[in-house]
């Protein structure tokens, strides 16, 4: 067994060790009640339902913002912009750069741009200066997260549009279809799996990231679920963080921390697996 073989074993061993620790630590805490009830007694008991709900709601809003915008950008890059044009190169560069920015920067950007600038502007324009939108809430957090996951969506959709063979487009045009008709009826249906994969990967990333929502909307504890876009929310990732650093009794809540981690892991793992399966099915059919 050479160096490569050894490092593979090492990596797998570390992953297995992490999983084993988490599963042993959290499996007793997992129950239907845990998943569906609110935290109690200063979050030392009870469940994590609001965190699950908040995470779900946030990724939904995030997807609504990121997926259409990302798909349209990918469509523009592949079908309309000439490859060497200034616009195409600029957008490609922006997408690549965006994907390399550390996630905490997104959090700061969300605070400065969405909350202070846009929110502040909205308050001045519609609420006579009263503090309504210039503060953390699920809308700003979701939009911030959408920026983070945009490159993933764009790349996925681009990939699947490219996989639609050129001769199918020629066939459509030779029948008297316009470019837009060809895109709508031949290219986009072919890109469906890419859009789906991109969405799933974005959701999986968004469900787990904490830094972008740290100051843009996540809350320590809320007694009620978010009702409107201007409400704050609880999230799985943030919940794990505060449970392990700021809870009243860190040792007592250890099982809850492990269980919450397990839930988040299962969630992201399943989502990624589904995306990989869809992608491999897409590759096989071409």
């Amino acid at each position: 067994m050479g160096a490569t073989g050894l490092s593979v074993v090492l990596i797998i061993a570390v992953i297995v060790l992490m999983l084993v620790i988490i599963i042993i630590g959290g499996k007793n805490q997992l129950s239907w009640e845990f998943l569906t009830s609110f935290p109690k007694d200063g979050m030392t008991k009870g469940g994590i339902f609001p965190a699950i709900y908040g995470t779900a709601l946030m990724v939904i809003i995030m997807s609504v913002a990121a997926v259409p915008f990302g798909a349209i950008t990918a469509l523009y890059l592949t079908e309309y912009a000439r490859e060497e044009s200034f616009i195409a190169k600029t957008v490609q560069f922006a997408v690549r750069t965006l994907s390399m920015v550390p996630s905490i920067i997104f959090g700061l950007f969300g605070l400065g741009f969405f909350i202070k600038f846009v929110g502040g502007g909205m308050d001045k324009a519609f609420f006579g200066g009263q503090l309504t939108w210039a503060q953390p809430n699920i809308l700003w957090a979701s939009l911030t997260m959408a920026l983070l996951t945009l490159p993933v969506v764009i790349v996925s959709v681009e990939e699947s549009i490219h996989s639609v063979p050129r001769d199918l487009r020629e066939a459509s045009l030779a029948l008297g279809a316009t470019k837009w008709q060809t895109i709508r009826k031949v290219v986009l249906p072919g890109a469906r799996s890419g859009i789906l994969t991109g969405t799933i990967l974005a959701v999986s990333r968004g469900a787990g990231e904490v830094a972008p929502i740290l100051f843009t909307g996540a809350a320590y504890y809320l007694a009620t679920l978010p009702h409107s876009l201007s409400d704050q929310f609880m999230s799985l990732g943030y919940h794990i963080y505060i449970m392990s650093t700021q809870s009243v009794n860190v040792d007592q809540t250890l099982p809850i921390q492990f269980a919450t981690t397990l839930v988040l892991l299962l969630l992201t793992f399943t989502l990624n697996l589904v995306a990989v399966l869809i992608r491999s099915r897409l590759r096989r059919s071409h």
């Binding site: 066939a171 045009l173 030779a174 008297g176 279809a177 316009t178």
Partner: protein
């Protein structure tokens, strides 16, 4: 004497700085089969694609000269190439059915043109598949994926798809070169039957096929039209030496 359906005058095409077609002037009569022959790279496919302006899609292409369909220049500034392609259909070398059902493939063209009446579409699809001599083979699985058909069947499906738009001219770019002999002869029979109603132009590298199937033949070499005439004459008594050498297999 048949009327000229489509003709070109001094058609010249450049890919960037490379000249691919040099002053091609050719009159193609209607409701006959005209074959383009010549060695690889001689420009026959390129010329074919200028007839329905498919070369417009290639960046860096420059075209001068005229192509007249029924005395109307299709390269005129005001011509809508999208509508042009409804009148001049194309079948490609490698069959390219959409990843849809057999029905939806054939209905694609009519739908593009705004035909949404279910009954009418069914009629058009059935008629096109019959005209393409494939109706009997697919009538019981018309909503199955087109990708499940064999190569020869897919090609006949592509022909049906082209017919569904009701073109006047059908361009075929080596339609049988990727097929086995049995499928090839089916396609050739089909071409023979279709010429009663359509003007057909076929590019082929198979000279026996050109001799079997066409009424007129044009021989291309290095981007130039060397000789053009009735197929019988070209193959038995060509005027140019180059034509004779190609026909007898001395080059190409």
């Amino acid at each position: 004497m048949k009327e000229t359906k489509i003709k070109s005058k001094d058609l010249t095409l450049y890919y960037g700085t490379k000249m691919a077609l040099n002053n091609i002037s050719l009159d193609i009569p209607e409701k006959q089969v005209t074959a383009f022959i010549g060695p690889s790279g001689c420009g026959k496919s390129t010329y074919l694609r200028t007839l329905n302006r498919m070369n417009d899609l290639i960046p860096g292409v420059k075209i001068t000269g005229e192509v007249l369909v029924d005395d109307f220049n299709i390269y005129d500034k005001n011509v809508d190439s999208v509508n042009l392609r409804k009148k001049i259909g194309m079948v490609f070398q490698k069959s390219n059915p959409f990843a849809k059902s057999i029905f939806e493939n054939v209905a694609y063209g009519p739908r593009i043109n705004g035909q949404n009446d279910k009954k009418k579409l069914k009629e058009i699809v059935e008629m096109s598949l019959q005209r393409a001599a494939i109706w009997d083979e697919v009538k019981d699985r018309i909503h199955d994926s087109a990708l499940g058909l064999s190569g020869g069947q897919q090609q006949r499906l592509c022909i049906a798809r082209t017919l569904a738009v009701d073109p006047e001219i059908i361009l075929m770019d080596e339609p049988a070169s990727a097929l086995d002999p049995l499928s090839t002869s089916k396609i050739e029979e089909l071409i023979f039957a279709l010429k009663e109603n359509y003007t057909i132009i076929i590019v082929t590298h198979n000279m026996q096929q050109a001799a079997r199937v066409s009424d007129n033949t044009a021989f291309f070499y290095l981007g130039e039209l060397i000789e053009y005439g009735k197929t019988k004459k070209i193959f038995t008594n060509p005027e140019k030496k180059q034509t004779e050498e190609y026909i007898t297999g001395r080059f190409g």
